[in-house]
């Protein structure tokens, strides 16, 4: 897709550099002239939004690391006293980082949902999709480590619960699970050693993420963008240069995203937070209700839906790894769900299922809905939802793909755009 380069160095210096290290050519080919389908819609701007949010997290994180102390005694105070009260603009940088993590996940879920809906995982973009899933898993690990670092009650008990998951392996090999969770903590309980290593890992993983993001963009630029129609680009009439078309579009929607993000940072800095995390970690007292951050709630609900700990852990990990197999689970010839009436319905049910799981994950274990005379224990809803989660990918996707009668797919992007009567002339002039 990235075809041959049309970059022509204009000055002597640019020529000299181009023969030695063609960075300007690289930038030009990939972010200026890169041929991009002309029909990408709003949902496609979240890739750029994610890139910017990752940079925001890295920059705020590096500055916070300059002021943070990763020890059990000092961690909470280094955040709540030093960073929040003493460091110039520390409150702003901390708030950007904490709310930024949630906004990043919001964008990730939209980005993944878009990829799913438009069939962006299908050949030849399997690697692109799988790299994206890896980024998602790495982000979750990074976010978990980061949440621990605040060393409030929620941080502490989240770290305790997650590291305890490893002890479930005792059911397979006696003592192995406990030994493993002790190894992860570096102590019998979450403590000094844990917060220190989580800090090291929290600082390390973003660099790994940045590397995988590089591969993700590389893979994207080998196959070229997918698009809402799910048909391949047939020729130059289907594409426009990335700049200025998509740079300005991405920048506009990025700014809207930033308005929402910063309104939360400045006017509701604890919107995504939990009051209990303003209580310093106390290994002797567990809060009455503990729950992870919202972006992990669906998986938390699945974990709690299974009565057996080991099975619960296996379900949790299977749910996390399932997206890796989607490219081969979907048997349909048609990419975009826009032309797949049944799959489209199932997709929205899937979205609703994830929201339901997230809701259940936020409730107490014994919570129930009272509908008239009937009590519906939420744990049963979670079980049904978990079942649908797996059925959607492992049963419905392969089965519907073969059976479904799809709607006619347009011949080409250009033809589809023309049909709509919106004439798009070359280069955007006149």
């Amino acid at each position: 897709m990235a075809g041959h380069s049309n970059y022509v160095p204009k000055t002597g210096l640019a020529r000299w550099l181009d023969q030695r290290l063609p960075v300007i050519r690289l930038m030009n080919d990939h972010f200026v002239t890169f041929p991009t389908p002309k029909n990408l819609n709003f949902w496609y701007t979240f890739g750029a939004i994610l890139a910017v949010m990752l940079v925001v997290q890295v920059v705020t994180g590096i500055v916070l690391a300059m002021h943070y102390v990763p020890t059990a005694d000092l961690a909470f105070g280094s955040v709540e006293q030093h960073i929040m009260r003493e460091v110039n603009y520390g409150w702003l940088i901390r708030s950007l980082h904490a709310s930024g993590a949630s906004m990043l996940f919001l964008a990730v879920y939209i980005h993944m949902g878009r990829g799913l809906y438009y069939g962006s995982y299908k050949a030849p973009r399997e690697i692109l999709w799988i790299l994206g899933v890896f980024i998602y898993l790495l982000l979750m690990a990074t976010a978990f480590f980061g949440y621990t670092l605040q060393w409030g009650q929620m941080s502490y008990w989240a770290a305790t619960v997650i590291t305890s998951l490893f002890s479930a392996f005792d059911q397979i090999i006696p003592h192995f699970g406990t030994a493993l969770s002790t190894w992860v903590r570096g102590d019998y309980a979450v403590g000094d050693a844990t917060v220190n290593r989580f800090f090291a890992l929290h600082y390390l993983l973003p660099f790994v993420i940045a590397g995988v993001v590089g591969l993700h963009i590389w893979a994207l630029h080998v196959t070229g963008n997918g698009n809402p129609l799910g048909i391949e680009v047939k020729g130059p009439q289907d594409t426009i240069p990335f700049h200025p078309w998509y740079t300005v579009k991405d920048a506009f929607y990025l700014t809207l995203f930033l308005i929402v993000f910063l309104a939360i940072v400045f006017y509701a800095p604890n919107f995504f937070g939990n009051p209990d995390n303003y209580i310093p970690a106390n290994p002797l007292v567990t809060p009455s209700e503990i729950r992870p951050e919202w972006y992990l709630l669906p998986f938390y609900a699945m974990l709690r839906a299974v009565p057996n700990t080991l099975l619960g852990v296996l379900v949790l990990f299977s749910a996390l790894l399932t997206p890796l197999f989607i490219p081969w689970l979907d048997t349909s010839k048609v990419r975009s769900y826009r032309f797949r009436p049944v799959m489209k319905q199932l997709f929205w049910v899937f979205v609703a299922t994830c929201i339901l799981l997230g809701y259940v994950g936020a409730q107490t274990t014994d919570a129930a809905w009272h509908l008239g005379e009937v009590d519906i224990p939420l744990v049963w809803l979670a079980r049904l939802a978990t079942l649908y989660y797996f059925a959607f990918f492992w049963a419905l996707m392969p089965w519907i793909g073969k059976k479904e009668v799809t709607r006619p797919v347009p011949e080409s992007i250009a033809q589809s755009v023309l049909k709509k009567g919106a004439v798009l002339t070359k280069g955007g002039e006149q």
């Binding site: 002021h67 030093h82 110039n88």
Partner: protein, 189 residues
Amino acid sequence: MANPPTPEPTRRDFLYIATGAAATLGVGFAAWPFIDSMNPSSAVLAMASIEVDLSAIQPGQQVIFKWRGHPLFVRRRTPKEIAAARAVSPSDLPDGLARNANLTESAPATDANRTIKPEWLVVVGVCTHLGCTPAVSTRESPQGAYGGWLCHCHGSDFDASGRIRKGPAPQNLAVPPYAFIGPTKIKIG
């Protein structure tokens, strides 16, 4: 920017330039909190000014306090030390300036200009050469040839007025901003 002729080239250019300029400006302003966060915090600034009680210091004794992270020498000088320091003319010194934050920059390095009360010499204990802490000269353990301080890093020799007499240090030991807030109580910074 090479644009083919268009009906409203000016307006179009202006819009793009304004948008680009606004975005650049925004990134510029956004950088400030991150830069400022690396400046001293309010906790550091709260410690920038300290009050010290001198009443326990005996004549001929030096006490070291910590001020803004540096050692602060407070020396109660004997009449003999004062007389010796007064006998030196600023024109004979390697650094002829008082280096006293309480006086103008051009004040000469007379001993009187080095103190507020002659008995009390208050200087920052940082060698003006490369930042080591000079060792004080006492009767039991004399340091250097001038009865003041000797810096062991590169041999800068200071007199009992904290003035450089020999060695690589370019300036006299700095006198910090301070004031007496009681007969034997000073506020530094």
